[in-house]
């Protein structure tokens, strides 16, 4: 089959365009990673809502009043989903995709208090009776339970490990 010079150019442009789209999609993927374990992927935990995603400019719609501290730390987007443990304990998982690791570190450090307990999660993490916050690379994850039960700390830790594994 014969292909003229102009035909060849068209092919080259087409291939380049596909490559660019693919590269763009890969780049975006970093910011749209699915960090949320499916139901029962972590023992006892059910994912009870769709994942909602907020771009930085819309973050106020989710955490109005709190959004600014994330924006000033360079948040790119925030994803959130609800979970339930053994049909009872409800929790919410927020995954903030920051511009870089420094932004994640800034938020984590701002959230620390004297009663925070260090946990081995990602690059650094802390736990409280009803919540866990950790960072991994440019991701900052916050998991909060709505009840303090004897099972809460361990259940949250298991879910946090599940999220960490997907980042």
């Amino acid at each position: 089959m014969y292909c003229s010079k102009s035909c060849l150019k068209s092919w080259i442009f087409a291939v380049l365009a596909v490559a660019l789209v693919a590269a763009f999609a890969t780049g975006c993927k970093k910011h749209q990673i699915d960090a949320f374990p499916a139901s029962n992927a972590i023992a006892g935990w059910e994912k009870t809502s769709d994942t909602r995603v907020f771009a930085a400019k819309d973050l106020w719609q989710y955490i109005d009043g709190d959004a600014e501290q994330y924006i000033s730390a360079g948040v790119v987007s925030t994803s959130t989903s609800d979970y339930k443990y053994q049909g009872q304990l409800e929790a919410v998982v927020d995954v903030h995709t920051m511009g870089d690791a420094a932004g994640a570190r800034k938020i984590l450090e701002a959230g620390q208090t004297k009663d925070a307990k260090t946990v081995q999660l990602g690059d650094a993490g802390v736990a409280f009776a009803q919540s866990i916050i950790f960072r991994k690379g440019s991701y900052l994850v916050r998991i909060v339970a709505y009840e303090a039960t004897p099972d809460t700390p361990q259940a949250l830790l298991a879910l946090a490990h599940g999220v960490e594994a997907k980042l």
Partner: protein
């Protein structure tokens, strides 16, 4: 359905120009009833039930919802001087211009479950309003969105034969902005077109920009883009917004939820920084209410060894701004606040 309260729960979950300080006239009445009240002072009542979350001295328990109505009654009785709660509520509705009209209950579910206006308080107010003669359909519980209302434990209901409950995501916002000072906002149609009178039901929280969020700051939930009012630690945004006529004139009375509160990390839910003041705070003077709320937060922060809000870089300056001559929304001078703790 066993009783009126069950009915209310089902319904709600299935479903005048004023003076400078928005006085209902209740305060004037109080002067006659409370010999300790000094003329010219703004009244703020803090009603507390130490056993609201279980036996006193054992904090951290679940809210005993059955005690909330009694606590509300105590607060309202102390404020109005009416021992009979139905009489007190009739007076509030009458003086507030809500008789035969729609009365909005502006809640706060922004922080999500765990730090939103308690359903039990909302239902208690709705119950007393009905007993005072307000038709269920004339009670409209509202906030920004369904999500916020659901955070309070409510379910959306637009059926006008029952207590209504929906947000501005359903009713929408005005097309034309209104302005005061630096605030130029599009108001919720629920405020501008539906409600003749609004009862403000905020929840006491620390706020990482404003310092404190309680009475005046809850009005951020009546505008389309509250984030545009966050500059300068929400100062003068909060004060300016409350000067916009529809906000200033229709929001007549605050029944503040301080049963659970957050002393740091607000306005979102930070369970590690919650505590239980076990209180309901009521009043008409929104500035005096916020001044009082601020001091409660400061006392708690001092108790747990945290820096003052000023040291933390978020002094709630909007409170003084709201009291200045340009805004004249109320008083922030503690000597001009008649604080009653009952």
């Amino acid at each position: 359905m066993n009783n009126r309260r069950d009915f209310l729960k089902t319904a709600a979950t299935g479903a005048v120009l004023l003076g400078s300080q928005s006085k209902l006239g209740i305060a004037a009445m109080l002067d006659q009833h409370d010999r300790h009240a000094a003329a010219g002072k703004s009244k703020v009542v803090i009603a507390k039930d130490a056993a609201l979350h279980g036996p006193a001295g054992s904090p951290g328990g679940q809210l005993d919802e059955k005690r909330v109505l009694a606590l509300l009654d105590r607060a309202i009785a102390a404020y109005t001087g009416h021992e009979n709660p139905v009489d007190a509520w009739k007076h509030i509705v009458l003086e507030g211009g809500g008789q035969g009209k729609v009365i909005g209950l502006k809640t706060n579910g922004l922080g999500g479950r765990g730090i939103s206006t308690h359903q039990a308080l909302i239902l208690a107010v709705a119950e007393r309003l009905q007993q005072a003669g307000v038709k269920p359909g004339n009670i409209l519980v509202w906030d920004r969105s369904a999500r916020d209302l659901e955070a309070c434990g409510l379910t959306i209901n637009t059926d006008p034969s029952r207590i209504r409950c929906y947000g501005s995501d359903v009713a929408g916002y005005e097309e034309q902005p209104v302005a005061f000072g630096a605030a130029s906002v599009k108001l919720a149609k629920i405020l501008t077109r539906e409600c003749a009178m609004v009862l403000n039901l905020p929840i006491l929280k620390d706020h990482n920009m404003a310092g404190v969020t309680f009475s005046m700051k809850n009005m951020y939930g009546v505008v389309q883009r509250p984030n545009e009012l966050h500059g300068g630690g929400c100062n003068p945004g909060v004060a300016d917004l409350n000067c916009i006529p529809a906000v200033r004139q229709k929001v007549r009375f605050t029944i503040g939820d301080a049963m659970t509160a957050v002393y740091d990390g607000g306005p979102t839910f930070h369970p590690e920084r919650l505590w239980q003041p076990n209180s309901i705070i009521v009043g008409e003077d929104r500035v005096a209410l916020d001044q009082t709320a601020w001091q409660i937060i400061e006392r708690k922060r001092a108790e747990v060894g945290m820096p003052t809000l000023e040291a933390a870089g978020r002094l709630p300056r909007y409170i003084a701004t709201a009291a200045d001559a340009a805004h004249n929304l109320g008083v922030n001078d503690p000597n001009r606040i008649h604080l009653m703790e009952v």
